[in-house]
């Protein structure tokens, strides 16, 4: 016959020890519960497209860094330059969300088929073909572009983007970029968390996003009408290697998600951190929503 617990653990200290264990266990479980509630994606629910999920890129050694030397030098040059007036205004693309068509309107009386005729005309959109394949127009545009380029040095969109970001930063438009705990950083300070470092980080992230977009291939025929896009976060180390690709919100279209993942992998390793960026890692978020051919 077995003895009861309190018979065996009659020593008060042992009892206290037991309640300590219970308490710690309870606290641990509470923390675990809080984590699951606050971060539901950790609860074990898996996306059906397991092949593209939970991607952990430890390293992509096979992809040689062909451009990093050039771009790193370019970033360095930009950092050392004094801000110049923007030659060309960079307009950030607006992310168009695909329309979600409601279910077909039902006629009230099913016995008497009715035809509604007072509907507002829907605007017809033009397929991409006519944006890209109008030979005469494209030829004329190309001629005009060549003429313009002959008169002035070619516009470097990326450079313009960076300059604009820099200007915006100087105007204080990127307040959000300064971490909360470092808002007290003094102007002109160049240490970690300084305004200058935040500015460099912003420019660097814009460059990386641009690099990834350059490597992004996505067949229009795989797109769906209700494409809502998705969010992915990547972690970049100082040497430019991408160590983590984490989908925070999937688009619902496996092909779209995979195309973005491949674009990121193609870009890895991206250019290393520019001088003045002392962080041990940078997490860059990407909102991806391809403009369909019909959205042009």
């Amino acid at each position: 016959m077995s003895k009861s617990f309190f018979t065996v653990h009659s020593d008060p200290y042992q009892k206290r020890l037991f309640f300590w264990a219970i308490g710690i266990s309870l606290a641990g479980h509470l923390i675990l519960l809080a984590v699951i509630v606050m971060n539901p994606q950790w609860s074990g629910e898996k996306d059906p497209f397991a092949s593209a999920i939970d991607v952990q890129m430890v390293s992509v050694k096979d992809i040689p860094d062909t451009a990093s030397g050039k771009t790193a030098a370019f970033v360095k040059k930009i950092m050392s330059d004094k801000p110049k007036p923007i030659r060309k205004t960079f307009k950030k693309r607006e992310t168009k969300k695909a329309e979600i068509d409601p279910a077909p309107a039902e006629t009230a009386d099913s016995k008497k088929p009715e035809v509604s005729i007072s509907r507002k005309p829907v605007k017809t959109k033009t397929a991409m073909k006519y944006k890209t394949l109008k030979l005469n127009q494209n030829f004329k545009k190309a001629l005009a572009r060549l003429k313009k380029n002959a008169d002035e040095p070619p516009a470097r969109t990326l450079e313009d983007t960076i300059r604009e970001l820099r200007e915006k930063m100087d105007k204080g438009e990127f307040k959000r970029e300064v971490p909360k705990g470092q808002r007290g950083a003094q102007k002109g300070r160049s240490g970690p968390g300084s305004k200058r470092e935040a500015q460099i980080e912003e420019i660097y992230m814009a460059l990386i996003a641009s690099e990834i977009q350059e490597n992004w291939a996505y067949a229009d025929q795989l797109s769906s009408d209700n494409e809502k896009g998705g969010k992915v976060a990547i972690t970049i180390l100082p040497d430019g290697s991408i160590v983590d690709i984490s989908f925070m919100d999937r688009s619902g279209n496996r092909y779209l998600d995979e195309s973005v993942e491949k674009a990121i992998r193609k870009s890895s390793p991206v250019q290393p951190y520019p001088e003045g960026l002392r962080k041990s890692r940078i997490v860059l978020g990407l909102n991806y929503t391809p403009q369909g051919v019909s959205d042009y």
Partner: protein, 445 residues
């Protein structure tokens, strides 16, 4: 001992708390992630690499096929509009030095040139027998998606490649492509309007009817074994039902006009526009030609039925509002919804195999062009423009391509484009005018 236990528990507690806190805090950090928008893919096709195949033995007959087979696969997959075939000059690969399987391939050589998919293969010829090893890889995932060995006669090469390409399309897009399909169309090559068929790529043209009269409006049955068409060979327009294999045919003998047959996608039934001495209305008939019921009943004429993939609805043209417009009828309830409101002359609806869109032709300013509209009528895309008349759209069985007729080069020809209006090219080259293309379902390879 007691002291050790206490210390152990305190350490444990601290550890658990630390783990918990570190797990919760990244959530707050996630809110601070700076997001950038990616909206414009630099390439709107999937980069695919297809190096020459490996001669397995190797004998001369194999060596001469290594590039030939790779070229043929490139041509087939390029036709779909999904892929950009990467230039072979950029490949860091020699099939004869390297192998063709994942163990022998260096995927880094493919990711570095941006190849999102890779097809390798080997060819073996023994007498008249042909063996093809064909493999599809995802170099980024370093994963084999397809690996098959096909045996056949040398004459079977194209059939083998079509089967492989169908499998490639299914593995990548989820749909088996249209490599097993054919197109029916009307041509005046013989001096009369007759029905012809060709393979999906415009090759292998065959004349089906020889009525030496006007024969139009071809329609494939859901399994491709039967074709219906309209002919004036007996005087008034009559619908003929033909068994494709044996060539036997029968015609409907109802009073009045009989035009534009459309097979039901699920049942051996067919709809057709018939006048029966009244307005032209759409009727449902058995595959043998017996009337099941009258589907439409309005004051205007109702023509050109095109069935939804599930067979529960059909799109058609009616002039009940004063001008020809596209409508959808739900067969079970009889409810009708008007789909097109823009344009005064919208005809020839063709319901997409994926069920979400309807292609149609619309006349505006004296020119006919092809449009695609969502089934709900919310979103319209114009696919052709400034290229004379473009009409009679017909979807490929996988919904990725649209065949249509156009007189942009003078005479009316059959063309094909992607479902988004890109990659427009002529499909058929033959004498006379070609009109009314109708894409068949996929036949077994």
């Amino acid at each position: 001992m007691i002291f050790t236990h206490r210390k152990l528990f305190i350490n444990l507690a601290v550890c658990i708390l630390c783990i918990g806190v570190s797990a919760i805090f990244p959530l707050a950090a996630a809110a601070d992630i700076k997001f950038f928008d990616l909206t414009n893919p630099s390439l709107r096709k999937m980069p695919l690499a297809i190096p020459v195949l490996k001669a397995m033995t190797p004998v001369e007959a194999e060596r001469e096929r290594t590039a030939l087979v790779a070229d043929e696969v490139s041509k087939m997959l390029n036709f779909t509009g999904y892929f950009k075939i990467l230039e072979r000059k950029s490949y860091l690969y020699d099939a004869h030095k390297s192998g063709i399987t994942e163990k022998e391939l260096n995927f880094g050589n493919w990711t570095v040139i941006g190849a999102e998919f890779l097809i390798t293969g080997g060819v073996q010829v023994v007498g008249n027998k042909l063996t093809l090893d064909l493999l599809l890889f995802d170099p980024f995932k370093q994963k084999r998606l397809i690996g098959k060995r096909y045996h056949g006669q040398i004459a079977d090469q194209n059939r083998i490649l079509r089967r492989f390409c169908s499998e490639v399309m299914e593995a990548i897009t989820g749909w088996p492509g249209m490599f097993g399909s054919r197109l029916a169309f009307v041509s005046t090559a013989s001096g009369h309007k007759e029905i012809y068929t060709c393979d999906y790529d415009g090759t292998n043209i065959k004349q089906i009817t020889k009525k030496k009269n006007i024969t139009t409006f071809p329609s494939w049955s859901a399994d491709g074994r039967y074709m219906a068409y309209t002919s004036f060979v007996n005087g008034p327009s009559q619908i003929f039902l033909r068994e494709m294999k044996g060539g036997s045919e029968t015609n409907l003998t109802f009073e009045g006009v009989q035009i534009e047959p459309a097979w039901h996608p699920k049942r051996f039934e067919i709809s057709a526009t018939m006048s029966m001495g009244e307005d032209q209305e759409i009727y449902m008939l058995t595959g043998g030609g017996k009337i099941i019921k009258k589907l439409t009943n309005s004051r205007g004429i109702d023509v050109s039925a095109s069935w939804s993939p599930n067979g529960k609805q059909f799109a058609y043209v009616s002039n009940r509002s004063g001008s020809p417009q596209i409508y959808i009828m739900d067969v079970a309830s009889g409810r009708t919804n008007r789909v097109t409101y823009e344009g005064k002359y919208n005809t020839q609806p063709s319901w997409a195999p994926k069920g979400d869109k309807i292609a149609y032709s619309s006349m505006e300013g004296g020119e006919i062009d092809i449009f695609v509209i969502s089934v709900q009528g919310k979103k319209t895309i114009q696919l052709t423009r400034n290229s004379a008349d473009n009409e009679a759209p017909s979807w490929s069985p996988d919904g990725s391509l649209i065949a249509f007729s156009s007189n942009r080069e003078g005479r009316s020809r059959i063309y094909v484009m992607t479902a988004y209006g890109t990659d427009q090219r002529r499909l058929v080259t033959m004498d006379g005018d070609q009109t009314q293309p109708k894409w068949s379902p996929n036949f077994p390879h």
